[in-house]
């Protein structure tokens, strides 16, 4: 997969593209931590190009959720597609995140 980040006016957007499987759990977790460390107002995980996600990926999203709760930095998940949304839905993860289109 690929991870790209844009930073504008206190909003840091992480663009995920490809497959978020076990091989990417650690690298992405590190990226998420770094982004929260920079203390933006808002973090967006953009999933438009994310083709699938396994529980390894869900754990990173959970990590981001916890970081958001402890720091007060807003967290949004953007543009989940049908495949990735299904995984969030089955596991009950859909309801805890702020989703945007």
């Amino acid at each position: 997969m690929e991870i790209n980040i844009t930073k504008t006016n206190g909003t840091h957007e992480i663009f995920l593209s490809g497959r978020l499987d076990i091989t990417w759990q650690e690298p992405l977790e590190k990226t998420v931590e770094e982004v929260f460390d920079e203390n933006p107002k808002k973090v967006i995980l953009n999933c438009e190009e994310l083709t699938f996600i396994s529980s390894a990926g869900l754990r990173v999203f959970m990590k981001a959720h916890k970081l958001s709760s402890t720091t007060g930095i807003e967290l949004y998940i953007a543009k989940l597609n049908e495949t990735t949304k299904k995984i969030f839905d089955i596991t009950g993860y859909l309801s805890i995140f702020n989703l945007i289109d």
Binding site: T23, S54, L58, I90, G92
Partner: protein
């Protein structure tokens, strides 16, 4: 027509893409819809991660054998390891009515496998853990 495949890897995360790449190519080539391919790849990722992290203890060397067959209507995969006896199906399903951040940790991966596959079966055979999963082709 039925095709069968075997692939073995050592129990390291960086080895798992060899298995997923082979399965993806062959299942797609056999004409399964993309969503079935993704369901299978997610299940494979969950099962291989479990084996890598838990079967041989931390830092322990071991092997993972994956055998699979593809026919017109289904994909059957069997994962074998010689690690500690572990039946993932005994793990209680996460309570999805409890908010995610208040749930007990663990069990999410195998829960997904059960949800995405049509059948999941565990057997201890001699010194081996064998987990067999079946995915039926989704109708058009």
């Amino acid at each position: 027509m039925t095709r069968t495949y075997n692939i073995s890897i050592s129990n390291r995360i960086e080895e798992t893409p060899r298995v997923t790449a082979l399965i993806e190519n062959e299942v797609f080539r056999a004409g399964f819809p993309q969503k079935d391919v993704y369901d299978i790849l997610i299940a494979v990722d969950e099962i291989l991660s479990n084996i890598v992290y838990y079967a041989y203890g931390e830092g322990g060397d071991g092997r993972i054998d994956v055998a699979f067959l593809i026919d017109d209507g289904k994909v059957e995969l069997e994962f074998s390891d010689e690690g500690v006896e572990f039946d993932p199906l005994k793990k209680k399903d996460p309570d999805t009515s409890v908010p995610v951040d208040k749930r007990e940790i663990g069990g999410l991966g195998i829960f997904l496998v059960k949800k995405l596959m049509n059948s999941v079966e565990y057997n201890r055979v001699g010194q081996k853990n064998k987990l067999r999963i079946i995915k039926l082709k989704t109708g058009e």
